[in-house]
């Protein structure tokens, strides 16, 4: 059962690692800047 879960666990590990790296780089700030302003492209006006 552990063998079957190994690929998923590895992918999860990579995902968490990337997530932490991205947070340390400050990427959520870029996401927040985009998300906290009306995205004119998203609503079809950009």
């Amino acid at each position: 059962m552990m063998r079957r879960a190994l690929p998923g666990l590895c992918l999860l590990g990579v995902g968490v690692l990337f997530l932490v790296l991205g947070v340390l780089r400050g990427e959520p700030g870029t996401v927040l800047t985009k998300a906290a302003n009306v995205c004119l492209e998203c609503i079809g006006l950009g």
Binding site: F18, G22, T30, L32, A35, A36, N37, I43, G44, L45
Partner: protein, 287 residues
């Protein structure tokens, strides 16, 4: 109409992820810090009620920013969620998926289980993911070297439904500014709504780049379907019950499955198991 637990979960998730009711009343959007957090489903961050960020929109935002060429944060989020549960997100946690589910419940003279060219159509979502979400935003840039979110701009129906329509209804200035792109996206939304009456979840099946990512994780995700070959009699009841017409007994964790659990409940032998839904029977009919 009997309310199934999945519909209740979908309703709660939709309400929670778009809980900023003041936004709808005032025609504004939420600007709090938690909006820097990605939500797992397709939910436009310009929706007046949205409390979190859309991962596909966020991915394009970081790809087109000057500071970063690659988004560890969003890609990491997608990989982690995909590795945990794959397209369970699509079946249980996506507001736009819920919207299509509701549309498909509306009675219509002819319901189709698949469209002509189904196999080719199902590849479209990968074309959209690679082309509109990744390559075009990264490489088609303006005079300042900035790209734009091509998927959000030209395709995303969730943006039109959740953000474009409520915001333009609330603001005369935005209504005046609406041009051909708005009308094109509105047409696309209407077409998808009409198609949803006929075929189950057309956007999820054929076009959604987020579903494409999660679907690639389905075969390895920790939350998955399990088919007991000893109990399965290959009667095909699971495929009949599957709204996406998947041969569950053959390919229980394929990229198209949204993990709605209908096959689990339908199986007469209890051969299909999933941690998120109870099966019909648990007694094996094979000797």
């Amino acid at each position: 109409m009997k309310t199934h637990p999945r519909a209740f979960v979908q309703l709660c998730v939709t309400a929670l992820s778009n809980g900023y009711a003041v936004g709808f009343a005032r025609g504004t959007i939420f600007k709090g810090r938690i909006k820097g957090l990605c939500l797992p489903g397709l939910n436009c961050y310009s929706c007046p009620g949205a409390l979190g960020a859309c991962p596909i929109g966020s991915l394009q935002a970081v790809l087109t920013s000057h500071e970063y060429g690659f988004s560890f944060y969003v890609v990491g989020f997608l990989l982690a969620v995909g590795a945990l549960c794959g397209r369970f997100v699509c079946g249980w946690l996506c507001p736009f998926g819920f919207f299509q589910d509701l549309l498909h419940r509306i009675p219509f003279p002819k319901k189709l289980r698949r469209l002509p060219g189904e196999k080719a159509l199902r590849l479209l979502r990968y074309v959209i993911l690679v082309g509109f979400v990744i390559l075009l935003p990264m490489f088609v840039t303006d005079a300042y070297g900035l790209g734009k979110p091509w998927f959000c701009t030209y395709l995303c129906p969730a943006g039109t439904l959740e953000a474009g329509i409520p915001l333009t209804l609330a603001s005369a200035a935005l209504r005046d500014a609406a041009g051909w792109v708005f009308r094109w996206k509105l047409l696309l939304l209407i077409l998808l709504i009409l198609l949803s009456l006929v075929v189950y979840r057309p956007f999820c099946r054929y076009l959604c780049p987020l579903g494409a990512v999660y679907g690639l994780c389905n075969p390895v995700s920790l939350v998955r379907l399990k088919v007991d070959p000893g109990a399965c009699v290959q009667c095909g009841v699971c495929q009949d019950a599957c709204p996406l017409d998947i041969q569950v007994w053959k390919k229980p964790n394929g990229t198209a499955c949204i993990r709605c659990g209908k096959c689990v409940r339908a199986c007469p032998c209890g051969a299909i198991q999933a941690p998120f839904v109870k099966g019909g029977k648990t007694v094996s009919t094979k000797g």
